[in-house]
């Protein structure tokens, strides 16, 4: 981790700064589509989640989904943005096989959400990224090109699904910042329940605008837009390669042409979308089938009052109240489910132990098994019990690990596992005294060395005792007895 921003494209003579702006398309979490009542569920059979409106039959008209408006406003509030009480839906006109009406209903001049901001935690400090706007629009259907050599197949299931297009200001400066920005947006929307952020299912995609300029220069360079990148990894790769391409062009005396490009993930390079080169002219105009959308301030206030605690606030609270480091807080607030789990555990268990167990042991397991914390085999209650068994000294850390492993396998409660497997701590002083004496007798030479001043050997004796007790000896008692015996 670097503690200073350091992302430049360095060439023989120059240091180039990379300027990035994102247009994120986030699918609104809703049961039905933005302007029709067909389902938004992922993975349905082709053309089964399509209404007459979604397939643009003659005479069909759009009627807006109230919940989608709420979702957009909530997201706007989560982005600390201005909510526009009056917004207008426009038509964006272009022909494409999966755009049944020949236009997409979107918001152009008057979006529902105006300027806002998102704060990123970078290793070199926090960074505020400006949000230009958020608007509501429809998704298109899906064109399938690989089922036949001569034909394209069209599935309209996605046609009409509500999207929020979140446009950032050109405030991002590195692939890392983009990574952090997209993750932060996703976290906020997941907290709000406005977008599930599932990139595999296409719920979150982005158009990435990239330009370069020499370090210290004020003016922006000409930008290129890389369309529809659907993973954070690819966004990072695309930016890197596009920035390099632009620098090479400029340094060889050529000009950047403002254009739309595609990222080829196999070749790790961007290429011009030649077919779209011909006159792009969307002819936006207000959709005459819809009236201006007017919402009341009370509607906004009502949503604001019901807003959950957002990640930034929660992080602050975790740091202040639970004395977490910023890193730990970040990890624990990254998802609502995680922070909820954590707060559940520490209701009845020691914070310091609990956070470590979650961040280290539990996350390793969840990662390994690719599980959401919601589906954790170890419930928050069971983990709290385990932590309590450790802090009360009933089991050692080492035994705890063994117990935890078994909890993962069986989902059982820790005390049951301890009982079933006979993992209870040995706390009978007489028994322990026997073991200690036994160990010492076998290591008379080491005792001599210890008494001669080699105090490090103390740990060795403890280890041997624990080994002899298969880890079950009560460490505190072992200590007491060992010290007493060694003094003899």
């Amino acid at each position: 981790m670097k503690d200073k921003f350091d992302y430049f494209i360095k060439t023989e003579n120059n240091k180039w700064e990379v300027i990035i702006g994102l247009e994120v398309h986030a699918q609104v979490t809703s049961k039905s589509k933005l302007f029709s009542s067909s389902s938004t569920k992922f993975g349905g059979k082709p053309n089964t989640q399509v209404s007459l409106v979604d397939s643009a039959f003659p005479g069909m008209l759009p009627v807006i989904n109230k919940f989608c408006i709420e979702q957009a406003v909530k997201t706007g509030l989560g982005l600390n943005a201005k909510i526009n009480l009056r917004s207008i839906f426009d038509r964006k006109n272009y022909f494409y096989a999966d755009l049944p009406a020949g236009y997409q209903i979107s918001q152009y001049k008057n979006p529902i959400v105006g300027e806002g901001s998102v704060t990123l935690d970078m290793p070199y400090g926090t960074k505020k990224v400006g949000i230009e706007r958020l608007h509501l629009e429809q998704d298109a259907g899906k064109s399938i090109h690989d089922l036949s050599p001569d034909n394209t197949f069209v599935d309209l299931n996605r046609s009409g699904v509500a999207l929020m297009e979140i446009v950032s200001k050109p405030d991002l400066r590195s692939p890392d910042e983009v990574n952090s920005y997209v993750k932060k947006l996703r976290t906020i929307m997941r907290y709000l329940g406005t977008c599930d952020g599932n990139m595999q299912e296409g719920s979150l995609r982005a158009d990435v605008n990239v330009s370069v300029r020499k370090e210290g220069e004020k003016k922006f360079g000409t930008r290129c837009e890389i369309k529809n990148v659907n993973s954070i990894k690819f966004m990072e790769m695309a930016i890197e390669s596009e920035a390099k391409r632009q620098v090479e062009l400029i340094e060889s005396g050529k000009k950047i042409v403002q254009e739309t490009r595609l990222f080829d993930t196999k070749k790790n390079e961007t290429r011009s979308m030649r077919s779209k080169e011909e006159a792009h002219d969307y002819r936006y105009f207000p959709d005459p089938d819809l009236l201006p959308l007017e919402i009341k301030q009370s509607f906004v206030d009502n949503l604001k009052n019901k807003l959950p605690e957002l990640p930034d606030k929660k992080k602050e609270r975790f740091i202040n109240k639970f004395k977490l480091t910023p890193y730990e807080a970040n990890v624990l607030i990254s998802e609502n489910n995680i922070s909820e789990y954590f707060e559940e555990v520490i209701k009845s268990a020691d914070i310091k132990l609990a956070k470590n167990w979650i961040i280290v042991e539990l996350f390793a397991v969840l990662n390994d098994k690719n599980l959401d914390i919601k589906d954790s085999p170890v419930s928050s209650k069971n983990l709290a019990n385990l932590v309590n068994l450790i802090s009360s000294g009933e089991i050692s850390g080492k035994i705890a690990k063994k117990v935890f492993e078994l909890m993962v396998q069986s989902g059982d409660e820790p005390s049951k596992i301890i009982k079933d497997k006979g993992l209870q701590q040995q706390s009978d002083p007489k028994e322990l005294e026997k073991i200690v004496k036994n160990v010492l007798e076998k290591n008379l030479d080491k005792i001599t060395q210890y008494k001669a001043g080699k105090e490090k050997l103390y740990g060795f004796f403890v280890g041997e005792v624990m080994k002899a007790s298969s880890g079950k000896a009560n460490p505190k008692l072992v200590n007491d007895i060992l010290k007493k015996e060694l003094k003899k």
Partner: protein, 498 residues
């Protein structure tokens, strides 16, 4: 008693159902002097004999017969339109019945759903006779842009019925349907009504649901009734209108009883006469028609007030920016993928689109899609589209100001009577000028009715238009009802097409 009823029935047939109004037909049905099946057969016969008029794109007679028989089996007179067979403009999507919007691109499109407005009619007891020809995607003022050929005005062969609801106007005037519905984006109900001597009303924007109607220009489109008289118009409007939660621009309010509340007294009502509607080289006949209308209103006790709608002359240019802009976007869905026509030409997706739309759309649609694309495109948006939306505000403001002083505004419906087929097809602008008096109303979202008010030297009907504040349909219906009685417009067709 039996023989008496039978005698009455024969009498009705001899008197000919062609000359009576929808309201009278409903009385006959309710008094069981005629059955729904007999009615259906009557109109089916008329339709079969009217091929020359080319007013139908699709008929569904088997279904009509079946539905009328089942109505007769369990007569239910609770609805406003008990057992009444009705044909509708082919812009309304009808479940399991082909819906084309007059376009090749929808030549074989069979919706699996029913438009809210037509559904409202069926809920009131009406029965579908078939789908009426119209200008392609309702873009036209003469019904000459339809892929299915032009419609002929029943007044005289070789004359247009107006458009875009030309098939509706012709079918109504020729008694191929007792009443009908059309759509009006810039005059598409009122202008053909005026050209065929019938009554047409464009409701307040948002009064009738647009759900299930093939869209032309979303901020202007409204469905409305076309009938033989004002009473029928009130009845049909009552049947078709109402809040629809599937249309975000639908107005949520209690349904009105236009029919029951219709009354002729208009004493003290204030009528505005806008000076800007006195356009250059307006035919004397139109001037005279308007004057007669004013006289009738005065005689009925109304107060006439001169008003000014200063931005009137900018309405048509504004309309020809806003409507094409919305249309260019609304018609993007006709891409050969989900429904409708697809060209066999083209080696990739883009070429498929281009050929499909080149072959599927007619010239007028192409003109408007291209104009619409142009006025929205980058670099031109502010100069055209945004400018037009500003002027639209001024036009609406003109009306708002006027309605502080008057209850309704009286104008001619059209600057001329029906013209000859082919007369204006070479010059789009001269065609567009047809809608000069009707377009401002759409831009302002207001209700307006056209009633037959006289004839020109050729004996072709001419209409007068009444405009009111938003949601005051009852007011213009009442004024029109009063005027209708005084005007006593009569039109007898010799049924030359049969």
């Amino acid at each position: 008693m039996r023989t008496f009823l039978l005698f009455q029935r024969l009498l009705i047939k001899m008197n000919d159902l062609n000359d009576i109004s929808l309201s009278e037909i409903i009385k006959l049905i309710k008094s069981k002097k005629i059955s729904s099946l007999e009615l259906a057969n009557h109109f089916i016969n008329n339709i079969k004999k009217a091929k020359k008029l080319n007013s139908f794109i699709t008929t569904c007679f088997d279904q009509t017969i079946k539905d009328s028989k089942s109505f007769d089996k369990k007569q239910n007179f609770d609805g406003l339109l008990p057992g009444i067979p009705i044909a509708v403009k082919d812009l309304f999507c009808t479940k399991n019945i082909k819906t084309t919007a007059g376009s090749k691109i929808l030549e074989n499109f069979v919706p699996t759903y029913e438009s809210t407005v037509t559904n409202n009619l069926w809920k009131e007891g009406a029965i579908l006779l078939g789908k009426l020809n119209c200008d392609e995607f309702a873009m036209g003022s003469s019904n000459e842009t339809s892929f299915f050929g032009n419609v002929v005005n029943p007044l005289e062969n070789n004359f247009v019925p107006g458009g875009s609801s030309g098939g509706s106007a012709t079918a109504l005037a020729a008694s191929l349907t007792p009443a009908t519905i059309g759509t009006d984006t810039g005059g598409s109900i009122r202008q053909p009504a005026s050209f065929t001597g019938t009554v047409g009303l464009k409701p307040t924007y948002g009064l009738c649901s647009r759900w299930g109607i093939v869209a032309f220009a979303s901020s202007l489109d409204q469905a409305g009734p076309m009938t033989k008289n004002v009473e029928d118009c009130a009845l049909m409007l009552e049947a078709m209108s109402g809040y629809d939660k599937k249309d975000s621009t639908s107005i949520n309010r209690k349904k009105e009883n236009y029919f029951k509340n219709l009354k002729k007294s208009i004493k003290g009502i204030k009528i505005g006469i806008p000076k800007e509607y006195r356009v250059d080289n307006m035919p004397k006949e139109i001037e005279q028609l308007w004057k007669n209308g004013i006289d009738i209103l005065k005689k009925s006790g109304a107060k006439i007030i001169d008003i000014s709608l200063p931005h009137t002359k900018y309405a048509l240019p504004t309309y020809y920016i806003v409507a094409p802009a919305e249309a260019s976007s609304n018609l993007a869905r006709y891409d050969g993928i989900k429904y409708g026509y697809r060209s066999k030409k083209g080696n990739n997706l883009i070429e498929m689109y281009e050929h499909t739309r080149a072959e599927g759309f007619g010239d007028e649609v192409k003109r408007r899609v291209l104009i619409g694309t142009y006025v929205l495109s980058s670099g031109y948006y502010d100069a055209y589209y945004l400018k037009a939306q500003k002027v639209r505000k001024l036009i609406k403001g003109d009306f708002d100001n006027s309605f502080k002083k008057v209850d309704a505004i009286l104008t001619p419906s059209t600057p001329s009577s029906a013209f000859k087929i082919g007369e204006k097809t070479n010059d789009p602008i001269s065609m567009y000028l047809n809608d000069i008096f009707t377009v401002p109303v759409n831009l302002a979202g207001l209700p307006a009715i056209s009633i037959p008010a006289g004839k020109d030297h050729k004996g072709h009907p001419l209409g007068l238009q009444l405009i009111s504040k938003a949601l005051e349909e009852q007011k213009i219906l009442n004024i029109a009802f009063a005027m209708e009685k005084e005007i006593d417009f009569k039109q007898s067709l010799n049924r030359w097409w049969e």
